[in-house]
Every structure is written in C-alpha cells, then in structure tokens.
C-alpha cells in the first residue's frame, strides 16, 4: 500500500517552508516601516520598541524569528536536494532543518 504523501516529513517540510515564506513576505514591509521611523528621529523608533515589549508582541516576535530560522534551514535543505547528490538524505535534512529552527528560536527567546 502506498502511504499518503502527507505522512512524509518532506510534505511537512514543504508546508512549513511555504507558510513561513508567505508570513515573512507579509511581515517584511511592516518591519521596514518600523525601522524607517528612525528617519523622524530616535524617539519615534524608541516609542515603538517600548510598545513592542508587550507579551503578545514578544510572542509574535519569537514566532517570526523561529519562522525565519525555519525558512532558512528549509531553503538550505531544498538547495541541497536540488544541487547535491543527497536525495536519500530527505528525512535527515528535514530533521536538521526543524532542529535548527527550534534551536534558533530558543536562543532568541533565552537572550530576550
């Protein structure tokens, strides 16, 4: 019996890579607009940073950092699959990508 594709780690790696990419693409303009507040002076940027200290905003920040790490690791996985003769390493690469994303997210959360 052929197992459904959704039980394969590669499918989950695809979903995480795609959803994290879309989320990051929507987040980028907001990120740039916030940094652009520095044009109006340090105080404008500072007021946003104080606002961002709310727990929910910090949680969203942590999610975004983890998504960025997941998209990076998932992208490296894809490049390895496409350009290197490592096709039998699919599951290992997916596990490494997930591990890297969790490690980066934890490092950020602990540093904060």
């Amino acid at each position: 019996m052929i197992r459904p594709a959704r039980s394969h780690p590669g499918w989950w790696a695809f979903v995480v890579h795609r959803l994290s990419g879309v989320a990051l693409a929507f987040f980028l303009p907001a990120h740039f607009l916030v940094l652009g507040r520095a044009i109006q002076g340090e105080a404008h940027l500072e007021s946003f940073l104080r606002w961002s200290e709310q727990p929910l905003v910090q949680l969203a920040e942590w999610v975004l950092v983890t998504l960025l790490a997941a998209h990076l690791a998932g992208g490296l996985r894809l490049l390895a699959i496409e350009f290197l003769p490592w096709r039998e390493w699919h599951k290992t690469l997916a596990a490494l990508a997930a591990g890297f994303a969790v490690a980066a997210g934890l490092a950020f959360a602990l540093a904060r």
Binding site: G21, A25, F32, E46, L72, F108
Partner: protein
C-alpha cells in the same frame, strides 16, 4: 511568460536564496546578540549610524529579499490561487519594487 524568462526566475530564486542564506545567518546571530538585556533605539542606532559596511550588507539583504519574496509569492499565487499571467507578473514586479524601496528607506534611516 516565456520558458526562458521562467528559467531566469528559477535561477534568480536560487541565486537570491544563496545570498539570503548567508545574510539570514548573520541577521539571526546579530538579533540574538543585540536583544540580550533589552533593545533600545539608542543601542540600535549607535551600532548602525555611519556604519557603511552594515549599510552595504543590509542593502544587499533587502534587494535579495525583495526579489526572492516576490518570486516566491508569484509561485504561491499561481499554485494556490490560480493567479497567473501578465497581471501576476506585474504584481510580482510591484511587490519586489515595494519591498526593495521600503527596505532601502529603512537602511538609510538607520545608517545615514
């Protein structure tokens, strides 16, 4: 879109991915280092003001992210929303220009 242009987008997506792999690693490490003990506008701008090496790095980061993000969204729009053709290509170009424009404005805000 012609097959040649499609191949060009495929190459651009992989080339920007390779640039972004390096940029995101540096960005993640910088964020984890920078958020220790809290984040203030003075700390951020103290590191970036007049630092043209960071300015060049983040300009490259922004341009690669704009191109990569727009091509990625075009693929997602085609596969999930069946949004294809000239309108989709025009939307992709507009998204790339918007992300790069906002990004370079943000870089100039914190560096100049």
């Amino acid at each position: 879109m012609s097959a040649r242009a499609g191949a060009g987008l495929w190459v651009a997506q992989r080339a920007t991915a390779a640039v972004l792999a390096f940029c995101v690693l540096v960005h993640l490490a910088t964020m984890i280092f920078a958020v220790r003990g809290g984040l203030t506008a003075a700390q951020i701008l103290g590191r970036t003001h007049g630092n043209y090496a960071w300015g060049a790095f983040y300009s490259l980061f922004v341009i690669a992210a704009g191109i990569h993000g727009a091509i990625g969204l075009r693929t997602v729009a085609a596969e999930w929303l069946s949004f294809r053709g000239r309108a989709a290509d025009a939307a992709m170009a507009a998204i790339a220009l918007a992300i790069v424009g906002l990004g370079l404005r943000a870089v100039s805000a914190v560096v100049l």
